[in-house]
């Protein structure tokens, strides 16, 4: 991956991690990668955490991004993601489940898996813990390694950048392991 995660078309990819571990930054990078190719992406935002300003700074063409806000309702978010992955033409459908990831029946996970295979959509699920079990082709955990501050004096005035790494929890191709670190500029 070289520090940058690339969701697989026609498969489910999961990013898990705690707060400030870099999972949302990975999510924005994936969205930016998709819309940067001129493709269309969708974000199902369970807790309405998406920051358009951060996305614009990350170079995301917001016109190509469909943002679905679910007001904290995880049931609705799952249904919305299920609808979107059945619509051919989206390059990436991202589902941000937030801090409280619901239990997903295995049958539902298989439904999602076969739906994304049929429409060749990359489904990216972001949350505190894993959701789809063995249906995911790739699952990674994000970890924060360090923070750099900036400022003219001894007391920093601004967050400069954050270093994170990813650990592969499950991969259909290749063995699980640690990936190189990447720096995220604030």
């Amino acid at each position: 991956m070289g520090g940058r995660l690339t969701p697989i078309r026609g498969e489910i990819t999961e990013i898990v991690g705690g707060l400030s571990s870099g999972r949302t930054s990975h999510l924005l990078a994936c969205l930016g990668e998709a819309v940067g190719r001129g493709e269309t992406a969708a974000l199902v935002d369970t807790e309405e955490i998406f920051d358009p300003a951060s996305a614009a700074e990350a170079g995301i063409d917001l016109r190509r991004l469909l943002w679905v806000r679910c007001s904290g309702n995880r049931e609705v978010a799952l249904r919305a993601a299920d609808m979107l992955v059945r619509c051919p033409g989206f390059a990436l459908v991202a589902l941000d489940l937030g801090e409280r990831v619901p239990r997903l029946p295995t049958t539902m996970a298989f439904r999602l898996k076969f739906a994304v295979r049929r429409t060749d959509v990359a489904l990216l699920i972001v949350g505190r813990r894993r959701l789809t079990g063995s249906s995911a082709a790739l699952a990674v955990e994000t970890l924060r390694e360090g923070i750099e501050w900036a400022g003219p004096g001894p007391a920093p005035t601004r967050l400069a950048r954050v270093r994170t790494t990813t650990r592969v929890l499950r991969a259909l191709r290749g063995a699980p392991g640690q990936e190189p670190s990447s720096w995220w500029c604030a």
């Binding site: 520090g3 940058r4 940067g36 679910c70 007391a155 601004r158 954050v162 500029c185």
Partner: protein, 509 residues
């Protein structure tokens, strides 16, 4: 060699606006009737405007008493105390005219719309079907009387001659034998022609009173003095048509309906009936390569009323599935107030040309799929929770607005290399927002935060000062701090300098 001789019939209904009302109220036929329309007079002296009822049409009985179009109601009543009046209603006239054209279409497949109360019929070839010209005329009279109108029929070699014959003929059917047009029309008054006012005035000044006198004028001289309008008047006087025949075809009836033997009070069951009706409608549209850009769903209710919904289709389509989805979603949002006993769906058809996507354009959701999924999502989360965000040109935190999702069709982004793509240096840290920003208790030393909600601040950076709209009632001013809490969370907090409160904006993640 067979020489095809053109023959035309003109069906004319005199005083058509009045005849259209008589068609709806046959009892008025023998009584003096005036059709009135309000005329608004705007005085120049600033006084309030006055609405004066003016006669726009009068039937034959009213005209016998001297009532004419243009008279005020008072004047018309003064001339005819027994006068009955009705307001002018466009729908009466339009439906009567449509009925007239359809009646003509029952006699010949080639019919031209000649304006309100007038239809031209190409009678060539009808002799073998109906008989001679008199029989054709009688058939036309019969058809038009059947729809409640009293026609006058003229048959001649041209439409112009047929019309003038119908206007001036002695009976219900008047026929000009072939080759006798000029002689027959010679004594007809020139006012019969629908000439431009300046041409009519000029000809009147020359002393030309009849069509025969007009036809006798030298054509070159008329062209030099009156131009194309003079030549047209000369052609009409000779009974010649220069304009092409424009056949009228009835507008298609794009409607399908289904009566139900039972009452439906469930939307799921109703969807099945809607699908059946839509399938029939879409098959008809597809057969003639048309698509619909809107639907009207009318539901007959068990209570005796109706429930009608206009379903706008986001793009022209002829597929049942997306149409059904949109119709059902609309009915979910606006359910019928009672059980349904009848379903009628009409479509507004248009013709579309297929387009081709760009060769280098990446695949995107098909418009029909996108419209369907957006409609479903709107029903699920609400229309306001769906779309593309657009940043507001402001320094205010979290200022954005939502637009309807409509991805651009250009592929410029796909062929332009992205700066820093693939390089770690280009990665941006994302803020995970908390909406609305949560108010928190913050302990400070000086102005630097040391505890947030009793959690120790391990490291902090700030303040990042921002303010705006100080010239307005919406003024804001805040100091932003990036802090690392004891549990490892890296967050952004902000102090409202106007109110003195602290807020948690979100977590860097």
């Amino acid at each position: 060699m067979v020489v095809r001789v053109s023959r035309f019939a003109c069906v004319l209904v005199e005083h058509f606006d009045a005849a259209a009302i008589e068609r709806c109220e046959p009892a008025l036929r023998e009584r003096p009737l005036a059709v009135l329309n309000p005329r608004v007079d705007r005085p120049h002296d600033g006084a309030s405007t006055a609405r004066i009822m003016t006669t726009v049409e009068a039937n034959a009985a009213a005209r016998e008493h001297g009532v004419r179009p243009g008279m005020t109601e008072t004047e018309a009543r003064a001339r005819c105390p027994m006068l009955l009046t009705r307001p002018w209603v466009e729908e009466y006239v339009a439906s009567a005219h449509h009925a007239l054209l359809e009646a003509a279409l029952a006699v010949s497949p080639r019919v031209e719309d000649g304006g309100a109360g007038t239809a031209y019929i190409d009678t060539a070839g009808l002799e073998r079907l109906i008989g001679d010209a008199a029989a054709i005329g009688r058939r036309l009279v019969h058809q038009v009387r059947a729809i409640g109108l009293i026609p006058r029929i003229g048959l001649a070699a041209s439409r112009a001659a047929a019309r003038m014959t119908a206007v001036n003929g002695p009976g219900a059917v008047t026929i000009i034998p072939p080759g006798r047009e000029r002689a027959t029309l010679a004594k007809v008054a020139i006012t019969t022609l629908d000439l431009a006012p300046d041409v009519a005035v000029t000809l009147g000044r020359w002393g030309v009173r009849t069509l025969g006198e007009l036809a006798a004028l030298p054509r070159e001289g008329l062209a030099a003095r009156l131009g194309p309008a003079g030549l047209r008047a000369h052609d009409l006087a000779l009974g010649l048509d220069r304009d092409p025949f424009r056949p009228w075809t009835p507008p298609p009836f794009w409607e399908e309906a289904q009566g139900l033997e039972w009452e439906i009070d469930s939307l799921g069951v109703l969807a099945g009936v809607l699908e059946t009706v839509l399938e029939r409608l879409c098959r008809r549209l597809t057969a003639v390569s048309l698509v619909a850009d809107s639907l009207e769903v009318r539901l007959g209710l068990a209570s005796g009323g109706h429930h009608a919904r206009d379903v706008a289709l986001a793009y022209p389509m002829s597929e049942v599935k997306p149409m059904l989805t949109l119709a059902v979603l609309d009915l979910e949002a606006h359910p019928p107030p009672a059980a349904v006993t009848r379903v009628t769906i009409s479509a507004h058809p248009i013709r579309t040309l297929a387009g081709q996507g760009g060769l280098w354009q990446p695949p995107a959701p098909a418009l029909r799929d996108l419209v369907t999924v957006l409609a479903r999502l709107a029903a699920l989360v609400g229309a306001g929770k769906l779309g593309s965000p657009v940043l507001v040109d402001s320094h205010r935190s979290d200022a954005f607005t939502m637009f309807a999702f409509s991805p651009p069709s250009d592929s410029a982004a796909s062929i332009e290399p992205r700066n820093g793509a693939g390089a770690s240096a280009g990665l941006r840290l994302a803020l995970r927002r908390i909406r609305p920003a949560r108010r928190v208790e913050v302990e400070t030393i000086g102005e630097r935060p040391v505890r947030v909600e009793a959690r120790l601040v391990v490291a902090s950076a700030g303040p990042w000062r921002a303010s705006g709209e100080w010239w307005d009632v919406q003024a804001w001013a805040r100091d932003e701090w990036d802090v690392v809490l004891g549990d490892g969370a890296l967050c952004r907090i902000a102090r409202d300098r106007l109110a003195g409160h602290w807020y948690l904006d979100g977590f860097y993640d």
